[in-house]
């Protein structure tokens, strides 16, 4: 596709359920990021994939959060046993590679509400 595509755009889930959020990066982009944004706030880094390197998971807030990237393209962020504090917009972004200064393109985000 022309841009970074995320699904679902909105997800309401019950506390304790697992959720999966999907990201399709721009074709050819080897670097992929997940960020979390609380209402009207800045972005909190979660995880970073670059090519075949081991992902940088340093931003994941707890072991309930995990992410994978299959075939160097599509990525899935999984949140297990969701809590109300997980409610936020989850943004995916991609860039050509991890070189500093490359433009980073964001998707529109997946709005997660845990009730």
């Amino acid at each position: 596709g022309a841009g970074v595509s995320q699904s679902p755009s909105n997800k309401v889930t019950e506390k304790g359920k697992d959720v999966e959020l999907r990201c399709d990066p721009i074709s050819g982009h080897t670097a992929l990021y997940w960020y979390r944004q609380s209402l009207g706030q800045g972005l909190e880094f979660l995880i970073y994939f670059q090519g075949n390197s081991a992902p940088d998971k340093s931003g994941l807030p707890s072991d309930r959060f995990s992410a994978e990237r299959t075939g160097g393209s599509v990525s899935t962020l999984t949140i297990q046993r969701t809590q109300q504090e997980d409610s936020a917009v989850y943004l995916c972004a991609s860039t050509l590679d991890g070189t500093s200064g490359n433009t980073i393109y964001f998707g529109e985000g997946s709005w997660l509400t845990v009730v």
């Binding site: 009207g40 706030q41 800045g42 972004a93 500093s100 200064g101 980073i104």
Partner: protein, 110 residues
């Protein structure tokens, strides 16, 4: 504690006024980026500044990178309602790993 502090957090002004948003840190960045985000959308890159003291202009927007590459400012001249949105600064310390500020929510009233 945020690595990048943005101020003000909120700004509501009348059309035609000028404003400045600040982004400050105690850390040095290889580059600093400014993004604008509208409701329901992801952030969109406005500009990247790389050199200490650099000034870039984008129509009515002027971006400045501090000499020590620790801080930056965004100045908007004669603000328009279309400028309304969330402005985010992001510092790059290594390999395109961005650290974001908390954002400045700007509302420009007609």
């Amino acid at each position: 504690t945020q690595l990048l502090e943005q101020s003000p957090q909120f700004l509501s002004i009348q059309e035609g006024e000028n404003l400045t948003v600040y982004c400050n840190s105690s850390s040095v960045f290889s580059s600093l980026q400014w993004y604008r985000q509208e409701p329901g959308e992801g952030p969109v890159l406005l500009v990247t500044v790389v050199t200490g003291g650099e000034v870039k202009k984008l129509k009515r927007l002027t971006f400045q990178f501090g000499d020590a590459r620790k801080d930056s400012s965004l100045h908007i001249t004669a603000a328009q309602p279309g400028d309304t949105g969330l402005y985010l600064c992001a510092g790059d310390r290594a390999g395109n790993m961005l650290t974001f500020g908390g954002g400045t929510r700007l509302m420009v009233k007609p």
